[in-house]
Amino acid sequence: MRRTTVLGFNMEKQIARRRLVVAVYALLAALLVLGWFLDRFGVTGSIYVYFIAMFLNWKILGGYGPNGLVKPFNGKGPRNEPIPSNLMELELYRYGNLDPDAPDQYRNDERELGRRDRVHYQAYQVLAILLCPIWFIAQWEIRPVHFMPPHLLPILLEWIALPAVLLAVTLPQAILLWTEPDFTPDPHEEPEPEPIPAH
């Protein structure tokens, strides 16, 4: 992990990160329900939920981008771009940049690489489990089966496919945040000076 705060909240404790993961998925679940009532997962209901998931992933969870709690999985450093020539580029640089002089912000050590690979293996299993019903339902829509009413199949398909997409985007980072232990203070780090009491 790279950062220890999200929106001003301290994320050094495992319990705080677990609460964050629960909050992210609760928000996404609420948005799914909202998207369903809005237009039955039409363009509005599904696109907005998907983009909000991407935003949460990009800004809070990290992993597949330069921001967020989890270091970039690919370990790539920031590009040394020249001075931005327009405002859009400047804005992108402001919000997407990392300090090129601090490689520990984006370079994963051996343990982190091992953890990264392991959580992707675990996420792969979850997605395999989710994909099987999607494929069954897609097959049943072409060859209707007697035990499933045909009008339920598209609803089921949407209710499994969209959460599967959200999980594909967020699950490895969520597992990582869920399982990483509490931060221990670095023994070589100098303790912060005691505040001087006001007389």
Binding site: Y64, Y121, A123, I134, W135, I142, E158, A164
Partner: protein, 195 residues
């Protein structure tokens, strides 16, 4: 990978070159099989290809005990040797005395690291195609449920081919040549030096 995993049927997979040829051949054979099936049975049988993607991937190993790649899953291993039900995994064979019931290769640290890394690479590669395959059909405006289902199915088959086989293919592609096992080495000459 161990000595028992040196062949896929009759094809030797001991060297990296032969395993890479196997990976290329695997996808070529599946593509040829799919074309042949659709040509002979018609496009209506396209959905039959979906389970085939799994059966083909099983041949490479990883998902099952057979195949050049060791079984990935630890719980599947425990179910197979009985330890999941509290049965001793090293119990004697019921019909062949002196042999353990089921011989299953254990995953050592290197195997686990290789497995996890292969899944990371596969996940990174398949993440965007998965999102496109699952989310794309939802945007089909004015499409009937059958059309959405058909689109999901059409996109699912090439995706499933990769989803089930890519980790094994990455392992087969990247692992170095196998060393000869102790049993396969020639007899070592012991020279006794007498002063």
């Amino acid at each position: 990978m161990t000595a028992s995993r040196r062949f896929l049927f009759f094809i030797p997979v001991e060297t990296r070159g032969s395993r890479r040829a196997l990976v290329i051949g695997y996808y070529v054979v599946f593509a040829a099989f799919a074309i042949l099936l659709l040509w002979l049975r018609g496009p209506a049988k396209y959905d039959r290809l979906l389970p085939m993607t799994y059966y083909f991937a099983v041949m490479l190993g990883g998902l099952a005990f057979s195949g050049p790649v060791k079984l990935f899953s630890e719980w599947q291993r425990r179910f197979r040797n009985g330890s999941a039900w509290g049965i001793d995994a090293h119990r004697p064979h019921p019909w062949l005395p002196g042999r353990p019931t089921i011989e299953i290769d254990r995953l050592d640290e290197h195997d686990i690291a290789t497995r996890d890394r292969a899944h990371y690479l596969a996940y990174s590669a398949l993440r965007w195609p998965a999102i496109a395959a699952l989310l794309g059909p939802l945007f089909l405006l004015d499409a009937s449920p059958a059309q959405v289902g058909r689109t999901v199915l059409i996109l699912s088959v090439p995706f499933a081919v990769l989803f089930f086989s890519l980790p094994q293919a990455i392992i087969l592609w990247t692992e170095p040549d196998l060393d000869p096992d102790a049993e396969e080495r020639g007899p070592q000459t012991v020279v006794k030096v007498i002063p």
